[in-house]
Amino acid sequence: MGKKIGNAINRIGIPTFAVGALLLVLLIAAGALGQSIPTLISDILKRIGMNGVLVLAMLPAIKSGVGPNFALPIGIEGGLMAMIICMQFDFEGWGLIGAATLLCILFCSILGFLYGKLMNAVKGAEMTIATYSGFSMCAFFNILWLAIPFSNRKMGWMLGNGLRETIDMKKFGAKNIISDFLAFKIGKVTIPVGMILTLALLCFITWLFFQTKTGMAIYAGGQNPRFAEASGLNINRNRIIANVFSTILAGLGIILYSQGYGYTQLYNGPMNMAFPAVAAVLVGGATASKASIPNVLIGVCLFQGLMTTGMPVMNQIFTGTDLSDIMRIIIQNGVILYALTKVKSGGDR
């Protein structure tokens, strides 16, 4: 019996099982403590919608063999720049979202192409270099936010130059604009249909992409680079395509995130956004070299579910301390470390 359970856990994957079990315990605790379960579920759904695309951005990178996209901030900064430029020209509401999306695809393609080139140059140490390219890009954009003379007063400080740390999307009529689109209530649970549809659409596009010839070739190159090379596939080119795709998804992800959150977070906001996304896809059962769309969806549900449920429950049990954030740090990095121990050593690439 014990062996059977052990096998089942191994098949699901230890991180998935552990996080799932913890989420279940927390949900039961939330119920027992008398917290409103419908509100919790609404919050979870909202957070899934906000973070889903950022996690989806991991998929092309992992499939192409580059590994989880620790350089997510690069794409995020591209998306932010697109939004800021559209805001500068006073786009509002759906116009802002649409224009930012188009501009984001342009910016992120360029950034993703350069980043893909970089990843091809540093094969074998992609994850480390990716992390630091993400950090450096963040720091570089910090300089840009301060130095570019944006003149729209809705985005500036009261005094002095440079953009604010957070820009209120409400002033541009874009707060929750996708979340509230077609949203309806079942009992007390709000279903953010717009966000879920967006996530589903992007998942479908990603799935479709990996059915095409290019997509298959990328996947083959990621699984077995030597074999793919021998059968005449251009691996380096495919890796670049995958990274461009991943970077665009990251840019779109931050647009979706910002409208759900109600604010665009500039400066050091995006710096550490890669790690929760990496952890989420790993929680969903992905590894550093293998991932699928179910992994992404399961992962984002479990991880964001845990984060959302954790806060009110922990705060009620241990008043006054911020244990839920500590729980996030430990789980998030514990999951990444566990995945790293499963990476085959770089020698046999």
Binding site: V122, A125, N142, L146, G320, L337, L340, S345
Partner: protein, 446 residues
Amino acid sequence: MNELFRKITGDSSFDLGSWILDHIVSIIFWVFIILGLLVSQNLQLNVFFSELCDRFYRNAFLILSLIIPVVAGLGMNFGIVVGAIAGQLAVIAVRYWGISSEQAGGTAFSGLPGLLMMFLIALPIAALIGWLTGTLYNKTKGQEMIASLIVGYFGNGVYQFIVLFVIGAIIPVQLAHPMILYDGVGIRMSVDMGNVKYALDNLWQVPFAPFMAVLCLLVFLFLIWNQFLRSSKVEGKSSKLSPLLFGVYAVISVAAGVIFLMQYLQGGVLTEVRKVPVVLVLLVAALALFISWLMNTKLGQDFRSCGMSQTIAEANGINVDRTRIIATIISTVLAAWGMIIYLQNMGTLNTYTAHNNVGYFSVAAILVGGASVSRATIGQAISGCLLFHAMFILSPEIGKAVFGQPALGEYFRTFMVYGVIGLSLGLYVWRANKKRELKQPQDEEA
């Protein structure tokens, strides 16, 4: 051009292009610092030197703790963050007892004994953490650097859990203790070092200018000894410099010595630089000597063989995994002690944030000194420490002078930290990959 440089360095295989690639980060920093000194008119030289020296005393020990893992083939150990955390736990424990004793009218754990107690307590904690992280690095071979980065974050989570919750909720503490938060659980935002502050610094201080003059003299004497009196070969490689390079170094050391002496005699601006805490400097020197001694022992040779090739080391009967764990333990313990030294100089411990940047800043500093993933020396650590922190002091000044915005300088500084790490690690991997590509076709032919 190449010929000229070959003559200067006395190295027949010298290639200017690859030399520049090797030293690109140092070159960028030198240019930046010289420009910075030129444009920032408000900066007084004595303030600059005081700041720089202070930062050097604080950070040198931490940066030196990075060398051994590099030699042992683990790469840059961003995991010294968890070593720093071990140091902070020791600081918190000793300060807790120290303040309790002060309140009772005693003087236990104050001043130097308190500091020594911190070193002692940090040792087993850091050794245990080092063993755990070393074991983890063995399970993540080839990905040690990203693993060590994440270990730092993970350790941060565990540490916050301890100082915010375990202390008070599980470990009983006095409710009214000034270090404990109001409701009796967790440590406050900042912990005052009390009279442990400057416990080392105050032991023996000498004025800056004559100290530097003597240091220059010692460097000059060392150069002479190295060039003319030392037995010629160390590990098969001549330690002698080419005559021209020797001449340049000798002239620089003599000139610097004379300048410091003149300043001292005439009471110039450099006499206003803060006094030198000799014991702290000696401690850094002792650590440097310890590391170079260790490298010549059997263990040091093992580190080096593991760094060259794990397969060959294994074939020679070296227990690779064990050696790598020992390297990690040494690094972690040194980082813990380095953090304690840092804190006794700072005077306060910011409980929740002090350790966060230790890894990035130390790694960036040693890379600026010219170290790489597989090679790091004491000289690189020392010069990197000075260069890096000179940049740190100067960049707000440059931001103010050039753009009229000090904040811009601060963002630029962050950019430099991450940029340096990314650039030099990236360049290293890129060149290693290129070398392997060049080698592979030959292998196939053979």
